[in-house]
Symmetry: C2
Subunit: 333 residues, 2 copies
């Protein structure tokens, strides 16, 4: 255990997880939990930074997130799923790091720039939301993470963490803060059922892990296909056709998928047939998750207790990091 | 003790205190320590925000500051002199407050605007320095201060604290954070010995409380008088004449001062005579402080221990405030 490399990853508890999360990050975490010492942060303080007027939403979604994690196969005895607000050392470490970041740097970081544009972050935005990218570096550094699994677009965030760690170490002549590396996985793009490029919690286009079989069926039958195809005998387009994109992601029978695509292009298969088959494969894949999620619902208390235990462990690791930082800054008496 | 109103005041440990501090704030604190429950913060974390590459300077000046406080008559058994870095709850409270402040607000606050112009703070400045005005509100709120003694130019800082407290309380429907009032004292302007409008640690124009009698004499004989007065028989100017400004501040014999001013205007008194008299009155006033400071030098350890004790007391008060804030934000499990 001690010699395993450490991974830091996590989510903001602002909504239930959907299949975009599953394929984009959660499956990956489940794969990594044996090989690495994994830390999974439930970032409720950062979630509050743009939901501060709705603390109930953040509070409720903590348990939802824990259920989703459990449902996907995250083992709470292996992965350290912890709650950010239970590790106040993160705030302390953030303060110590904040002397090595600038407002300019926040504004110029490419990840942040994009996010700022998307979310409309500017100087009239709450300060806590504005500086969260730097607060996030404290999440990573507080457990001495070796690796941070990210998408390509989040690499600059990890770079920024390395930069702050390096500057701190250099200024105080120490080898203390551990520079993490980005672990860039294969990009899995899961479009929304409406054909939008991304599935999003707030876009009303998501298939949730907690959706019932009935809900799944309804959503699958609503997925965006080829809007110009009126009759089943019309030749159809595969590009941008969400039904086939989902087939590519969930249907392991590649031959069957290729055959259906071929028939679709020629006008030899109905949309409803493609979707019926899609529902079947998706349901097969999601049923075990759904079942484990129902199980999880009944053990919310246990999952939360386990997260609290992990939070204590993380808090003690973070206390060590914060204390070493204090020593370097001559703040020990 | 319990029914006394609470005062929060303090300094950054970045240099020894001078007569500007003595007359501008410290004497006032000594006067207030009986009537109020006084909290005096040694703001070493904020001092690091613009001295992060020189932690030794901040570290050394903590003890210097404690000695200066003791020398001026601050009673460590009455006033709670505490060290900011020993109260990590301040950082936590700052994070909770940061959702109610904006970058814009920092930039537009008049106190901060002036300070930003003076110190050249802009977006390329360390983040920690940039947001310290909001961090400062956490110092005030963490002890539920009723009053904050400030100069007129710092009233907006107290206003900003009230504003954040009010917003927090309103958002979560609580009466929790205590809105402090500014306690605006009589402005005492102490010019530098070089005639500069203000005496400043970094301006090389200060008379320190730790200066020896010899140093005091040297500085008094260097004070800026009337540069156009060549001979003692030339009529001299009183306006902008630092020797007379100091007489006004330290010489309690108003009649004598008025007489000297009259003679000076008529060219009937030498600069050296005015200064000799000034040295005498200043030395009389500063000797007890100097003597107590020599005493303090020998008990640095005790003063620091006392500050550590107070820090524990403050930390426990702040923990209570932080916990109530967490409860309001539904962060309790």
């Amino acid at each position: 255990m001690e010699n395993k490399k450490r991974i830091l990853t996590g989510d903001r508890p602002t909504g239930r997880l959907h299949i975009g999360h599953l394929l984009g990050s959660i499956n990956n975490r489940v794969r990594l939990q044996d090989e690495y010492e994994e830390f999974v942060i439930v970032a409720n303080i950062q979630a509050l930074s743009d939901n501060f007027d709705n603390p109930g939403k953040v509070r409720e979604n903590i348990e939802e997130l824990l259920c989703d994690y459990y449902a996907c196969g995250l083992d709470f005895n292996k992965a350290n799923v912890f709650i950010q607000s239970e590790v106040p050392e993160i705030h302390e470490i953030f303060i110590y790091l904040s002397n090595f970041a600038t407002v300019q740097q926040i504004q110029h970081n490419p990840t942040i720039k994009t996010e700022m544009a998307q979310k409309g972050i500017d100087i009239s935005t709450p300060l806590g939301f504005f500086f969260y990218p730097i607060h996030q570096t404290a999440d990573i550094l507080c457990v001495n993470a070796d690796l941070v699994p990210v998408g390509k677009d989040q690499v600059p965030m990890v770079e920024s963490t390395r930069d702050l760690a390096r500057k701190f170490n250099k200024t105080y002549g120490v080898q203390l803060l551990h520079e993490p590396s980005a672990l860039v996985g294969t990009e899995v793009n899961v479009p929304g059922i409406d054909g939008a490029e991304k599935m999003g919690k707030s876009l009303n286009n998501a298939i949730y892990l907690s959706d019932s079989e009935e809900e799944l069926r309804k959503k699958v039958f609503k997925v965006y296909t080829d809007p110009n195809r009126i009759h089943a005998t019309d030749p159809g387009k595969i590009e941008g056709n969400v039904a086939f994109m989902y087939h590519d992601l969930f249907n392991t029978n590649v031959e069957e998928v290729n055959e259906m695509k071929d028939m679709y292009r020629k006008g030899n298969i109905k949309d409803v047939e493609v979707k019926e088959r899609l529902f079947k494969v998706m349901n097969e894949s999601l049923t075990p998750i759904r079942e484990r999620r129902l199980e999880a619902e009944k053990m919310k208390g246990e999952l939360l207790s386990s997260a609290m235990e992990s939070s204590k462990r993380v808090s003690s690791i973070a206390r060590g990091v914060a204390d070493s930082m204090k020593e370097a800054m001559l703040l020990k008496f």
